[in-house]
Amino acid sequence: MKTVEPDLVPYDEAVAAYDVVMGIEVHVELSTASKMFCGCSTAFGAEPNTQTCPTCLGLPGSLPVLNQQAVESAIRIGLALGCDVAEWCRFARKNYFYPDMPKNFQTSQYDEPICFDGATTVEVEGREFVIPIERAHMEEDTGKSLHVGGATGRIHGADHSLVDYNRAGIPLIEIVTKPIEGTGALAPQVARAYVAHLRDLLRSLGVSDVRMEQGSLRADLNVSLRRAPEAPFGTRSETKNVNSLRSVERAVRYEISRHAGIIDAGMKVTQETRHWHEDTGITTAGRSKEQAEDYRYFPEPDLVPVAPERAWVEQLKAALPEPPAVRRPRLQAGWGFSDLEMRDVLNVGALDLIEQTVAAGTAPAAARKWWLTELARRANEQGVELDALPVTPAHVATVQSLVDAGELNDKLARQVFEGVLAGEGTPEQVVEKRGLKLVSDDGALTAAVEEALAANPDVVAKVRGGKHQAAGALVGAVMKATKGQADAARVRELLLERIGVDH
């Protein structure tokens, strides 16, 4: 029987009373062209069951063949996380029955992961936290079940279920932390920062699309509380498949409050998996792990052991991209950003975007301005990550070069971005279609200037009398007449020239 859960304890009280321990398991879908053990495509979004073959359908007699690219990706991920790479390791079969698993066992790694014992550092509110890495291992994804007819989309209450095996056999790397301790009240932010850090790292390695919204990176969050750091670990809950950074933070926060409520009420936390509900911001109980399933692991006899040559591993290590902890200070110094500016850049996930924009010829400050103001605002409005916008670093560079050339002002530039976001094409196309060029033709400008001078003799007199700032009113009149498509600086120049004063 399900008992009613006690009330949540407000977060601040919970973290004041208890010490938080987390463990995070992240599943990353690799962006290899083919699946882990067969030649089927891994492309996302194809018609159900069109990317399958005897092997990934687990047909009788079929056999797996290991994707070497996936092994390379796994090793590079492990190296980037400071892991040791196994000299020799095997796959194992994890046996359990479920319709989305074609063989009713998952080919995974058990006690011989390819990468193990690493650590990586994240920064939250100016404090560094070392996240100890237990292992990174290879496995295959399962198919995807669609439960039809139930209210919640879950199997309970559904009329029938459909299974799409396109996802079955997609290469996954599971990255498992050791217990993360000592984060205190920052636990939810540390969890978020760690997942964000992994995302950046994996992207810089080029091994995954890391699209959390498509499920190519998903986190299982283990949370437990104890009275004091010296006490033994409390009972944990595992919130499965959390797939946005914001949700990672919220789910950890929620679980801390929930656990505290249970313990305060003198009850025991149940060891179980939980589902996160993005809409309501709560978790609900999933499968109880009290009758822990026995997966009957044993070495996969259809695959030979993986024994990466040391020279190859060293080669991969030497070719790793610069680690974030080195790269960030380097970029910050090169760009001349303050610590505060840099933190904002990292918070909105604009580091790579700015780097690419600068590489395309834009001044760092201008690149930062566009990504952190106009574009960050747009991303926020649409509820997507900054890099999910259709605007690319090349677009930003183009727009800024037009501004620098005096062909656009900031106001027009914003309209260009609006057009790109609305799917009207490249910045050049938007400029063309919307007619957004600044009026730089002196002939057209001169006419407007003459008109403004004739219409405002009193202002002209003031300027002649030495009150140069009064020229602003004339500039305004010209800008109005040209619908803002004039370069204000040039207008001012022309006005002062005509009035006959030095500028």
């Binding site: 009788p60 319709p99 009713n104």
Partner: protein
């Protein structure tokens, strides 16, 4: 039936290929003769679960067309073959002797089938077997037992009893078997035919429905050693679709068979395994085995006795490893994607449908092994059972390695007894398992092994098999020694042992 067709089915594969190549008979005639023979005797033998007359004739005509166009063809072009029903063949029913897969037609060809097609071999149909290759008598087939052509009241061995019986009953000169613990060799021994378990990894397992992945190996069944070598060569060699396939050239098995047929074995060192004789062995089997050992000496081989002390644990280790792997391999039969489905009436959940289907679809022997394996792998028992069994496996490999430091091949009887009566061991699984006592060590160690006829047991007049074992990737040694023994015995008997088999009653 005309004399010509009778003659055609009695030819060896090598002779058949020669007849077709010289144009003395078409491949289509050869296929028809065998289909007729199947029609005439298979009612009594029940070697086949499915006869693909249409496919066989089409393949035969293709061989004839190629010959007409003057195209070069392989040494087995047009030769008919019986395929064990555990091997996937595109569009042809593949049941593994189980109700679970009744009506399932694979959408793909196994590598063995692909290579057979490429060699111009004509696949006549699918042969009976113990369900999912678990058994030593074919009595565990869901479709009824196969009968031994030497005595229809006796077992033809198993699991590949259908393949061996088809060859022994002249329904096909060649067959494909699979050998996990003796399923090629034990049926060969009790039907007076030749059967070879190649080195593990020597023949691709792609498309072989797995029983025990680390032990399963497909191989040839035939009436002569040279025929086995030709078939071995046709199906063997590296396959990128099977990760456990050995990426090295196939040993020269055909050349070795031809060399062996010259008759002498001077310089060959033969070891007799001390542990594979004595108590529990039928006296007539032992007698023929010792005569075969004497013959090896006469042919010039040096014979010594060697000890493999850990062989006594082989059966126990096998009955932990094979069921463990099978419990996982057979998990996929769950009614969700193909095969039998029971309980899909809107009243049962997917999990219940899985359970009902597995309860209805698997026979008692398969269930016994799935349960055994599930238990052996379960948490808390893994080290004691599966883990210990793997250690035994290592020790057995070590026994072999030490023996092969002294000798080139090892010999033993293939089975402790001759064919036993149908039904006599069905209620006693352990007695049934003991049939594989001599064959299992080679599977555990991954080496190569052959069974060939060495006479009729004087106590019951039934065939006795001589087992020859060789190290991994030394399959050629089997063929050299086997062909020498075969040639000497044929001289002694005035022909192949099968010529002494009783004639089967042909149905008009």
């Amino acid at each position: 039936m005309t004399d010509t067709t009778t003659d055609l089915v009695r030819l060896s594969a090598t002779e058949t290929a020669g007849v077709i190549a010289r144009g003395e008979a078409s491949a289509a005639d050869v296929a028809k003769a065998h289909l007729d023979r199947i029609g005439a005797v298979d009612g009594a033998v029940h070697a086949f679960l499915h006869v693909d007359a249409e496919g066989a004739l089409a393949a035969a005509r293709e061989v004839d067309d190629k010959r007409a166009r003057g195209e070069e063809q392989g040494p087995l072009a047009g030769v008919p073959l019986a395929l064990k029903d555990v091997m996937a063949q595109r569009g042809v029913p593949t049941t593994c002797g189980s109700k679970m897969l009744e009506g399932w037609r694979p959408p793909y060809d196994s590598t063995v089938v692909t290579r057979l097609r490429a060699a111009g071999v004509v696949i006549l149909g699918k042969t009976n077997m113990d369900e999912f290759a678990m058994g030593s008598s074919t009595e565990h087939s869901a479709y009824g037992a196969t009968h031994n052509p030497w005595d229809l009241d006796r077992i033809p061995g198993g699991s590949g009893g259908g393949s061996a019986a088809a060859v022994a009953a002249y329904e096909a000169p060649l067959a494909i078997g699979t050998d996990t613990g003796g399923s090629i060799r034990q049926p060969a021994a009790v039907t007076g035919t030749v059967g070879v378990k190649p080195t593990y990894g020597g023949v691709s397992r792609y498309g072989l429905v797995a029983f025990s992945s680390s032990l399963d190996q497909a191989g040839p069944c035939s009436r002569t050693v040279l025929d086995a070598a030709l078939l071995h060569e046709a199906i063997g060699g590296h396959d990128p679709r099977d990760s456990t396939s050995i990426d090295a050239p196939l040993p020269p098995v055909v050349a070795a068979a031809r060399e062996g047929a010259q008759g002498r074995l001077d310089g060959v060192r033969v070891g007799v395994v001390r542990e594979l004789s004595g108590e529990g062995y039928q006296p007539g089997v032992e007698q023929r085995f010792h005569e075969a050992v004497d013959l090896l000496r006469e042919l010039g081989a040096t014979v010594t006795e060697v000890s493999c002390p850990h062989f006594q644990y082989a059966l126990s280790a096998y009955y932990l490893i094979a069921p463990s792997e099978c419990s996982s391999n057979l998990a996929r039969f769950d009614a969700m994607r193909y095969g039998l489905r029971v309980g899909d009436d809107g009243e049962h959940s997917a999990e219940e449908v899985m359970a009902l289907t597995r309860a209805a679809g698997f026979g008692p022997e398969v269930k016994r092994r799935i349960m055994l394996g599930t238990y052996a792998l379960s948490s808390g028992y893994y080290d004691a059972y599966y883990g210990s069994a793997q250690k035994v496996r290592t020790l057995i490999s070590r026994d072999f390695a030490q023996a092969y430091e002294q000798v080139d091949v090892l010999v033993s009887p293939t089975t402790p007894t001759t064919a036993f009566p149908l039904g006599s061991k069905l209620e006693d699984p352990i007695a049934m398992y003991l049939n594989d006592l001599c064959t299992i060590p080679s599977n555990l160690a991954g080496g190569a092994a052959m069974s060939l006829p060495c006479g009729l047991s004087p106590d019951d007049g039934l065939p006795v098999g001589l087992q020859i074992m060789a190290p991994a990737m030394a399959d050629d040694r089997l063929y050299r020694v086997g062909a020498a023994v075969e040639t000497a015995l044929a001289d002694r008997w005035g022909g192949n042992l099968l010529t002494q088999a009783p004639e089967l009653q042909e149905k008009a």
